[in-house]
């Protein structure tokens, strides 16, 4: 395998103290308002990915583009968007797209003990993980209310990761983030993924992020637009 070797060192006392210090700073710097009822309100993200699972052709190009743009390697496991499909299933229940919703209340941000999972105010309030601060506790993955969880565990780095709408994509030769390019959107051959600045409904059902992107072309190709 050409993957990066797993890190084997444990958490040293020095590293622990450094992490705690960093966490404190990060917590202080965290944008948001603590309401009287104890809720911590954070600014809304300025961009979202919506998908059409009925349209997706299951080629996995979005997954490859995601991991390549972020880490320079081709990987399903490290893709921030997951296409889950069953060859023997019947349309439309044969395929599911699991993408980060950039939630308004973002439980993954709220639960992070170090501030690694944070709101990036410089990049459209995208919820993202700072790998330098992540201590690999996986609390954000557990806090994600969706199944599959929209955060990934990087087994090599022993850290969490998540969709940042391509803010931090060193291998993408275009500006990412809200207002920029998203690798998965750009590469999808059938345009089953779309970027929007309009926040979808925040109910827990997946349907609010599932949209109909099928148009007259789809109909002309013989497939339903319903």
């Amino acid at each position: 395998m050409t993957g990066k070797p797993a890190r084997t060192e444990g958490t040293t006392r020095r590293r622990f103290l450094a992490t705690v210090a960093a966490s404190g700073c990060a917590m202080l710097a965290r944008p948001g308002v603590l309401l009287a009822d104890g809720r911590f309100v954070i600014p809304d993200a300025e961009g979202f990915l919506v998908v059409d699972t009925k349209k997706c052709q299951g080629c996995g190009s979005c997954m490859m583009a995601c991991s390549l743009a972020h880490s320079g390697a081709a990987s399903y496991t490290k893709s921030r968007i997951q296409i889950v499909q069953d060859s023997f299933g019947d349309w439309p229940d044969d395929l599911f797209i699991a993408q980060c919703r950039q939630c308004r209340n973002a439980p993954c941000v709220e639960v992070c003990p170090t501030g690694a999972n944070h709101v990036d105010t410089e990049h459209g309030n995208v919820r993202r993980v700072d790998p330098e601060l992540c201590i690999g506790c996986r609390m954000c993955i557990q806090a994600c209310p969706f199944t599959p969880a929209r955060l990934q565990w990087d087994q090599g780095q022993r850290k969490s990761q998540k969709c940042d709408l391509c803010v931090d994509t060193p291998y993408l030769d275009a500006k990412g983030g809200p207002g920029g390019v998203q690798a998965c959107v750009r590469v999808c051959p059938v345009r089953a993924i779309s970027f929007t600045r309009e926040m979808p409904s925040q109910d827990l059902a997946d349907s609010s992020y599932q949209v109909n992107l099928r148009d007259w072309v789809w109909k002309r190709l013989g497939m339903t637009t319903k």
Binding site: G60, A73, Q85, G89, R186, V187, R191, V217, M223
Partner: protein
């Protein structure tokens, strides 16, 4: 040192000892991947390369991925299988097959570039691969199951969730394993990729294929029957690793160029475009979809899905000929278009579940029907058959025929050993002379692209090891014949079309459009021989080793671009551009052709050891003795040719036969150009050493089968 584009290990499975051995990929790096890698591994690990029956325990089967699998290289998601097959005549040649889907990608994520299958298990086994952890499992409970059932059960045994919403599942066998970074196998949302045989393979029939997911089958070589002989039911692979890419930015840029320049804009597509790569996704079924409730479904990394998964619950992922193997008889009994579609898709499913190659049916069903009409085949006839021939065309008959062929029952008992072999056993050799049995090359059925018209298809098949099933140039026929048949616009005129293609035929026929002239005057010419060489070498590397899809590549011409030039060999999105971005190589397009030549020569060395001689290289008699009068789809076969004034026109090539003597002269010309002995067709020392294959030359010399250098 990072081996960019490769997982880095090859897995050897010794079935006899039930032992898994890892070897490094680096030693075989010069062969690329896929077929080249497979041939190199076969050469090294097959202890007896004279065997001519794939069921021999010495046979070695290699399942090989490509560095491009799962990397975003457009439409490069296939997987290659090589070894001595079970489906040719008079010799079961060392041969190839391939399949789409996601197996190659997953294999690499599990840490392997290829699997070498050796020996024979004493009882049925399946192989369980999880991130380089390999286990031989008892398959006695799976033996006899169809390919769908086998895959569903293996998924459960591996622990993959049944539904899609369960989420991430853990590949670790214990909590402790997950906590230790050194042993953590990681998590995935994906299902294992499984390659399996059905009853057709278990019963060691020539029609046995290897099936992956619902509708991907490596069919033509009979490798399913080989797995059956080895007592190997299935290989399951799941991985959570990654593949390091040399230049991810260049890779992403080239993919963007592909989509922005060469592919029809999905919001405003040109539905009638002439291109292989740039069409919008469209199900390539030979029957219309049953309704509009389906999705296009694609192999990993494909830019244009060609299969479908339907709401109706059958026909999933099956495409092309498999969806029409039963079309002709079904058309006669179906009472409606809907019933015709259902019969065909269900007949396709029946074959996929049994793991049965359906290519026999292209011309084989016509032959069987001829035998029935002649009164030779049927209940109580000379060739006894209890199949319900009076129900020929119904789904019931299709399912019974599939069962008989898969389980060696009824006429399937004889046909399991090969259709031409059965013809000889039944005393029907004459049918190969009259053309009633249109099995044109190496005992395999003519593909629908008759060698008497589309000569590069026939020449390539007979000079190689099987029906090539390579539609590189065949797209010309498809485009212009369709335009003539349906009065569609001729998007590119003949002169421009051959000029564009010839630009890309580097090095042998670059800017020599006459290589594309298959007219009567030039069909045996050296120019055509150069085109056939280019085709053999291009496909051996780019199509079968880099594993670019046959349906999407090469993209010679493309009406989505302003100058009608396609992506092939281009410097922004050509085949070699993706290869270089992934592997870090600095190949030119021609370098890839040269690697293909090296692979082609190694293959010929293996055929030579198996006993090949140029005297064996000939078509079935009907190709020389009868005229091509009836096309599979159209009553004409259009191709660009030069007219009497030398002007390029589209012309009908139907109505002719091949001239036996002139074809022999063509072979001589081809062998000379290849640097092979023109008297035997064997590779020579000079040619092999020029390709850094001195070891191969030595092996041929030791066997007394090294070609002689002859002065021309």
């Amino acid at each position: 040192m990072t081996l960019y584009g490769y997982a880095g290990k090859i897995l050897r499975l010794d079935l006899t000892a039930r032992r898994a051995i890892e070897i490094d990929t680096a030693k075989y790096r010069s062969w690329g991947g896929g077929h080249g890698l497979g041939s190199a591994l076969f050469w090294e690990f097959c202890p007896d390369k004279t065997i001519t029956d794939g069921r021999h325990p010495a046979n070695v089967i290699v399942v090989a991925a490509s560095p491009l699998n799962g990397t975003l290289a457009p439409s490069a998601g296939r997987c290659e299988v090589v070894g001595v097959g079970l489906n040719t005549y008079p010799v079961h040649w060392y041969t190839r097959s391939g399949f789409g889907g996601r197996f190659g990608t997953m294999l690499r994520h599990a840490g392997f570039d290829a699997i070498v299958i050796e020996g024979r298990a004493s009882s049925p086994v399946w192989v369980d691969i999880r991130n380089r952890k390999v286990a031989f499992r008892d398959a006695s409970g799976l033996w006899g199951t169809d390919t769908e059932t086998a895959q569903e059960r293996i998924r459960e045994l591996v622990g993959a969730p049944r539904d899609l919403r369960t989420g991430w599942w853990n590949l670790n066998e214990s909590a402790e394993e997950a906590l230790d970074p050194a042993t953590d196998q990681g998590r995935t949302t994906q299902k294992p990729a499984i390659l399996t045989i059905g009853p057709a393979g278990e019963n060691q029939t020539c029609g046995g294929g290897l099936v992956h997911d619902a509708g991907n089958i490596a069919a033509v070589a009979g490798f399913g029957g080989v797995w059956g002989a080895k007592n190997l039911k299935a290989i399951s692979v799941i991985g959570t690793g990654e593949i390091a890419v040399a230049d991810p930015t260049a890779l992403l840029r080239a993919r963007t160029a592909t989509q922005e320049k060469y592919i029809s804009d999905i919001t405003q597509p040109d539905f009638a475009s002439w291109t292989k790569l740039g069409k919008p996704p469209k199900v390539m079924a030979m029957v219309p979809p049953p309704n509009d409730e389906f999705r296009p479904q694609a192999c990993q990394g494909c830019v244009s899905g060609c299969r479908a998964r339907y709401a109706i619950g059958y026909g999933h992922e099956t495409k092309c000929q498999v969806t029409s193997w039963y079309f002709a008889p079904a058309r006669r009994v179906a009472r409606s278009g809907a019933e015709l579609v259902e019969i065909n898709l269900r007949a396709a499913d029946a074959a996929q579940r049994q793991g049965l190659n359906t290519y026999f049916a292209i011309t084989g069903l016509h032959w069987l029907e001829h035998l029935v009409e002649e009164g030779v085949l049927g209940p109580g006839r000379k060739i006894p058959s209890a199949l319900p021939w009076d129900r020929f065309g119904t789904l019931e008959f299709a399912e019974k025929l599939v069962h008989a062929l898969s389980c060696r029952e009824d006429i399937g008992a004889d046909l399991a050993e090969g259709w031409v072999q059965a013809a000889h056993k039944w005393g029907r050799e004459e049918d190969l002379r009259t053309g009633h049995m249109a099995f044109s090359y190496w005992g395999q059925p003519e593909h629908g692209y008759d060698p008497r018209a589309e000569v590069e298809w026939g020449y390539g098949s007979i000079l190689g090891d099987r029906d090539i099933c390579e539609h590189c140039f065949n797209i010309i026929f498809t485009n212009i014949t369709s335009a003539f048949a349906f009065a569609q616009p001729m998007r590119i005129q003949a002169q421009e079309l051959v000029g564009i293609i010839a630009e890309k035929l580097s090095p042998y026929a670059k800017n020599r459009p006459e290589a594309l002239d298959f007219g009567d005057e030039s069909m045996y010419s050296e120019n055509v021989a150069q085109l056939v060489r280019w085709h053999r070498h291009y496909t051996r590397f780019y199509k079968q080793s880099a594993l670019y899809c046959d349906l999407r590549w090469p993209d010679f011409y493309n009406t989505n671009t302003p100058d009608n030039r396609g992506a092939t060999a281009s410097e922004d999105a050509g085949e070699h551009v993706f290869w270089n971005a992934v592997t870090g190589d600095q190949l030119t397009f021609d370098d890839g052709i040269e690697i293909g030549r090296r692979i082609w020569n190694l293959d010929n060395a293996i055929w030579t050891l198996q006993g090949r001689h140029r005297d064996m290289v000939h078509f079935a008699p009907y190709i020389y003795e009868t005229r091509f009068e009836k096309g599979e789809l159209f009553p004409f076969y259009m191709w660009p040719c030069r007219d009497e004034q030398g002007k390029w026109v589209y012309r009908d090539l139907m109505g002719r036969s091949l001239d036996r003597q002139k074809f022999e002269e063509f072979k001589t010309s081809f062998y000379r150009l290849e640097g092979w002995d023109v008297e035997s067709g064997w590779p020579t020392r000079r040619t092999l050493e020029g390709l850094d294959l001195a070891e191969v030359a030595a092996a041929l010399e030791a066997a007394g089968r090294l070609g002689k250098e002859r002065s021309s």
